[in-house]
C-alpha cells in the first residue's frame, strides 16, 4: 500500500463534500455529475445554465490545482483507445439507466441515507472490482 495517500485523500474528499454541500444548501440541487451532464443533453429546458456553471467550475477547480501543482495532476491511462471508447459508452449508458454515478449515488445518495444509493454504490464498486480483476488477471491488459 505504498501508493496510499490518506491525507490528500481526506482533504480532497472534504472539498468534494463541501462542493456538494454548497450546491445543496445554496441551490437546492444534487451534485450528481452524471445527472448534471445527462440533463444538459436532455430535451431543451430552462435549467441548463446552472448545469453548465457547475461543469465550468469543475474544470476551473481542477485546472487551478493543475496549474498550481502540475506534477501532482497526472492523468494516466492504462488502457487502449478502443477500451477507453467502450468504457465511455458503457459509463454514459449505465449512469443514465441507474440514475447516478460515484457522486450522485456515492457522495450525495449515501449522505442522505438513501437505500437506493447504498445499493447502487455497493453494486458499481463490486462490479468495477470484478471487472478490473478479470481484465488484469484473467485476460491480460486489454
Amino acid at each position: 500500500m505504498e501508493n496510499f495517500t490518506p491525507l490528500s485523500a481526506l482533504v480532497g474528499g472534504l472539498l468534494i463534500g463541501l462542493g456538494a454541500a454548497v450546491l445543496l444548501l445554496g441551490g437546492g440541487r444534487i451534485a450528481g455529475i452524471s445527472g448534471i451532464v445527462g440533463g444538459m443533453i436532455k430535451r431543451p429546458s430552462g435549467d441548463h445554465l446552472w448545469r453548465a456553471c457547475f461543469v465550468v467550475g469543475l474544470l476551473i477547480g481542477a485546472g487551478a490545482y493543475a496549474a498550481f501543482a502540475p506534477e501532482r495532476f497526472v492523468v494516466q491511462f492504462d488502457t487502449t483507445a478502443g477500451t477507453v471508447a467502450a468504457a465511455g459508452l458503457i459509463v454514459g449508458y449505465g449512469t443514465q439507466l441507474g440514475h447516478g454515478c460515484t457522486s450522485g449515488h456515492g457522495v450525495c445518495g449515501i449522505g442522505r441515507l438513501s437505500l437506493r444509493s447504498v445499493v447502487a454504490t455497493v453494486l458499481f464498486m463490486a462490479t468495477a472490482m470484478v471487472t478490473v480483476f478479470i481484465t488484469r488477471y484473467m485476460m491480460g491488459a486489454l
Partner: protein
C-alpha cells in the same frame, strides 16, 4: 445566492477536491479497484470524507424550507430498488473498471489534453444519448 453562482462555486470546490485527492487520475482509481494487486485504499478515504460532509449538509437541509437561492430543494423522489437501478449500477461499474474513469474525473481529464480523455467523454455523451433514445415514450423514462 443565485442557483448559477452556487453551482459555479460548488463545481470549483468539487473539481479542486478531485484534483487534490488525485481522483482525476484513472490509474489511481484503478489501483483502488484492483483489490488483488498493490491495493491503494485512497478512494475509500475520499468517499468517507465527502460522505461525512454531505451527510451534515443533508441534515442542515432537512431543517430548512428553501435553499439560499430560493425556490425549493430538488431532491430525488425514486425509492424503489428496481431493475434499472441494479442493471444501471452494474453496467456503470463495468465501464468504470475498464478505464478507471467515472463522469467527474472524465471531465477533468479533458484538461490533460489527451486524445483518450476526449474519446472517453465523447463516448460517454453518446452512451447518454443512446439511453435517452431508448427510453423515449416509456412511462418511467426521462
Amino acid at each position: 445566492m443565485p442557483l448559477a453562482l452556487s453551482a459555479l462555486i460548488a463545481g470549483i470546490l468539487f473539481g479542486l477536491g478531485l484534483a487534490v485527492s488525485q481522483m482525476t487520475n484513472p490509474a489511481k482509481v484503478l489501483a483502488f479497484l484492483d483489490v488483488a494487486g498493490d491495493w491503494d485504499p485512497s478512494l475509500a478515504v475520499v468517499m468517507a470524507g465527502a460522505v461525512t460532509v454531505s451527510f451534515i449538509a443533508f441534515r442542515i437541509a432537512a431543517s430548512r424550507t428553501a435553499p439560499l437561492a430560493g425556490g425549493s430543494f430538488d431532491l430525488p423522489t425514486r425509492r424503489a430498488i428496481d431493475t434499472p437501478l441494479v442493471m444501471g449500477a452494474m453496467v456503470f461499474g463495468v465501464g468504470w473498471g475498464l478505464a478507471g474513469l467515472c463522469p467527474g474525473p472524465a471531465l477533468t481529464a479533458l484538461l490533460s489534453g489527451q486524445r483518450k480523455a476526449f474519446l472517453f467523454v465523447g463516448a460517454m455523451l453518446a452512451g447518454m444519448l443512446v439511453y435517452r433514445f431508448m427510453s423515449r415514450g416509456r412511462p418511467d423514462g426521462d
